[in-house]
């Protein structure tokens, strides 16, 4: 698959980030940095809760298994049979409402990413900018949620949906 005429791929990649959780921030920034490294023109548009990915302070980026039946939660330690258990399927959902569960999940996720050789999220984001990824924060969301431009990182642009569509390729990927 890897050898199949790579030149037919479009040289532009665009993604609308609507989620502001740590896992989806990683998913988008990993894709964006890779696409940029492969000389694609990359545009990320941050809308609604996706704006959280652009805050200078990344401590607000968390994950929680609460209300996330899609999340696979397996133990990284223990015997093989134990590691195969998906705790998200086998524990009652109420467990994730306990205090500290989100912090626990976030810490575990960060460790998992580090073990995969991934950078901390703020460094990965800086790397994206360094590689030339263009990031645009949705002006309308900013105003609607009362977020100040100074709360977001430097090196990004502020614009509404019309200017996004005016400047981006027809191939768009949406992270729902």
């Amino acid at each position: 698959m890897s050898q199949q005429s790579p030149e037919v791929l479009p040289d532009e990649f665009s993604l609308i980030q609507s989620k502001g959780t740590l896992d989806w921030a990683y998913a988008s920034f990993i894709l964006a940095s890779t696409a940029a490294a492969m000389d694609k023109k990359v545009e990320l548009f941050f809308s609604f809760y996706g704006l959280k990915c652009l805050f200078k302070d990344t401590s607000g980026l968390k994950i929680s298994p609460l209300g996330r039946p899609d999340m696979l939660i397996r133990s990284p330690v223990g015997p093989q049979w134990f590691r195969k258990i998906d705790w998200n399927q086998n524990l009652p959902g109420l467990v994730w409402t306990l205090p500290g569960m989100s912090a626990l999940a976030t810490t575990a996720f960060k460790k998992q990413m580090k073990a995969q050789g991934q950078l901390p999220i703020e460094e990965l984001r800086a790397l994206c900018l360094e590689l030339g990824v263009k990031m645009t924060a949705c002006q309308m969301t900013l105003e609607a949620m009362g977020i100040g431009e100074s709360e977001l990182i430097d090196g990004i642009e502020f614009a509404g949906a019309p200017s996004y569509f005016a400047h981006t390729p027809s191939t768009q990927s949406l992270f729902v």
Binding site: S33, A37, Q118
Partner: protein
């Protein structure tokens, strides 16, 4: 992120035309590095796959 590290290395050494070796521990690199090299017009040979370490020899195509 072997692909990004390779890209950065190439960007930092724009005049390098000799072949160089790259060792990676990321198993995904086995497919990703050759795919990246094909797209970037680089010559890539898998030299060794010993345990968790994968070694590639990479060279810029001169033509």
């Amino acid at each position: 992120m072997p692909v990004i590290k390779l890209k950065k290395f190439l960007a930092q050494n724009p005049d390098l035309i000799d072949a160089f070796e790259m060792s990676v521990s990321d198993q995904g690199a086995l497919r990703d590095i050759p795919a990246f090299c094909a797209q970037q017009n680089l010559h890539c040979v898998l030299k060794e796959q010993a345990g968790s370490v994968i070694r590639f020899e990479i060279q810029r195509q001169t033509i």
